[in-house]
């Protein structure tokens, strides 16, 4: 797995320091973000629309760069100029995008899951094993030979998670994983995410989902980290939520979620 670097528990999975970024048109999206996520943690990244969540996520694997600050993944610094490091960074950071149709573009599920590891140079029996293992972990092995567009939305989201798991990432980044899912698919995905032994950063507006899956939450608002605490404490602080345009759904009581 990640034997080359960072087996010591002291190296965090993700270490973001002083990250600032302005888009080429001058819109400043991030104003100095600091965030450390230890190995095995599950963290929810909360924040209103336009808070810079997506901008932050796209910095984690070097797709956006050029601002100030530093991102380290498992101790390895993201350096967009160094192509070899960048490839390793993209293996370590597995991003599951919001729309599975954006992520699943190959003619069959099997080929799609193989796309990532094959880009890393894995071939033959080991590739098959990776694909089967990843699909098995999300319970989608039975649909391996079907075209993605013929699966249900929930199935496609699970396959999208598998495409990233097949790369054996250091940290799994999910963008709005519960969006557009029916309650059963939503629960199934939660069970799958809880069963994975991997560091998770979950970007979401779905506060109950954050409470269910992530012991820790950070609020990104106005391009800075505005809060970083246990999810229960964050959700219990009504004033904090209101000031960052976050709202609990009707009838949801965070005090009842004590685990």
């Amino acid at each position: 797995m990640t034997a080359d670097l960072g087996e010591a528990p002291t190296v965090p999975s993700l270490d973001v320091r002083g990250l600032a970024y302005a888009y080429p048109d001058g819109t400043q999206a991030l104003y100095g973000v600091d965030l450390t996520i230890d190995r095995g943690e599950r963290v929810a990244l909360l924040g209103p629309n336009g808070a810079g969540k997506t901008t932050l996520v796209l910095h984690l694997n070097g797709i956006l760069h050029g601002g100030l600050g530093e991102v380290r993944v498992g101790g390895l610094a993201v350096d967009p100029k160094d192509k070899r490091t960048l490839r390793e960074i993209r293996r370590r950071v597995g991003i599951v995008f919001q729309d599975p149709d954006d992520q699943l573009f190959m003619p069959t599920v099997r080929e799609d899951v193989a796309f990532g590891p094959a880009n890393l140079g894995i071939r033959g029996a080991e590739l098959d094993l990776r694909v089967r293992d990843a699909l098995d972990r999300v319970g989608m092995l039975a649909v391996a030979d079907r075209p993605p567009q013929h699966l249900s939305f929930g199935q496609r989201r699970r396959v999208a998670v598998a495409t990233v798991l097949a790369m054996e990432p250091e940290i799994l980044v999910l963008d709005e994983p519960s969006s557009n899912l029916d309650p059963a698919s939503r629960r199934e995905l939660a069970e799958i995410l809880l069963s994975l032994d991997v560091t998770v950063l979950m970007v979401t507006h779905d506060l109950p989902y954050a409470a269910e899956l992530c012991p820790r939450s950070v609020i990104l608002s106005g391009g800075v980290i505005a809060a970083d605490a246990s999810t229960r404490d964050v959700l219990m602080d009504g004033d904090l939520l209101t000031s960052h345009r976050l709202e609990l759904p009707f009838g949801f009581d965070p005090a009842a979620t004590a685990r």
């Binding site: 797709i63 192509k83 993209r90 003619p107 069959t108 880009n119 030979d145 075209p147 013929h150």
Partner: protein
């Protein structure tokens, strides 16, 4: 849908089967089809019998592949616009005239029409047989295998994958328009339709950007990894060569016979 795996994986033109023709590697079939069509085109139009033999050869392929005659016949309809053009030729072409049923027809035009009709139909039937026995994605693998530029095969792969997605989006836009009382009756509707097409183009373009982003995130560097190779054995190449070889004899005979 709900018709299970077979219906899910199949494409409209593909007729599932396990015949020897189905099982041939795609690149062999592609080369065979190309060679056959070139030979047909190279045959002098005066040799009626040669085109008959070509048709028999194709019928033999269809029989081996167990593609029903009716399926092929129905799909030949696609060439109707070209046939219409061919029927026009005897009336508009110049040169010596012959009188058929009281109509003054150009002899050159008649030959031209026959030429288009015979060669076009044979070409169309050949393509239909190829599409009916080869899954589209295998076809793309075959093209890739024949060293076509990867950029082209990648574009074709994405068309295959996202054709349905874009069509579904178009369908949703249509429903949304109709739900607000829109009826595409007269010329004024074109303005609305043109705007819909524009919006669809923008959405598809944006989706393209998002797909590219998702690909980069999984280590894409401009080349598609070759995951499963569709290699062909010498025996398979020989089997695929049967059709163009037989056709080559016919072409040769057509040229050399007095």
């Amino acid at each position: 849908m709900g018709a299970g795996h077979a219906a899910g994986a199949a494409h409209r033109l593909y007729v599932p089967g396990a015949s020897p023709v189905h099982r041939l590697p795609p690149q062999c079939k592609l080369v065979a089809v190309l060679a056959f069509v070139l030979l047909v085109v190279a045959t002098p139009r005066e040799r009626f019998w040669a085109f008959g033999v070509y048709a028999l050869l194709l019928a033999a392929v269809a029989a081996t592949a167990r593609i029903p005659f009716g399926t092929v016949a129905r799909r030949v309809v696609i060439e109707v616009p070209f046939v219409a053009f061919a029927f026009l030729m005897p009336f508009v072409a110049s040169g010596e005239k012959v009188t058929v049923l009281g109509l003054e027809l150009s002899e050159n035009g008649l030959w031209g029409a026959w030429n288009i009709l015979a060669k076009g139909t044979l070409g169309v039937v050949t393509s239909i047989l190829l599409a009916a026995t080869t899954e589209p994605r295998l076809l793309l693998l075959g093209i890739d295998r024949l060293r076509m530029p990867q950029l082209l095969t990648q574009i074709a792969t994405f068309m295959l994958r996202y054709g349905d997605v874009v069509a579904a989006e178009l369908g949703r836009m249509k429903v949304a328009r109709a739900s607000r009382g829109f009826e595409g009756r007269d010329l004024r509707a074109t303005r609305v339709l043109a705007k819909s097409i524009g919006a669809l183009f923008l959405r598809s373009y944006e989706r393209g950007e998002r797909v590219h982003l998702a690909m980069l995130s999984r280590g894409y560097d401009g080349r598609m990894p070759v995951v499963h190779d569709v290699s062909a054995t010498a025996a398979q190449w020989t089997a695929a060569a049967a059709l163009p070889l037989a056709a080559a004899f016919v072409t040769l005979a057509a040229w050399t016979m007095p």
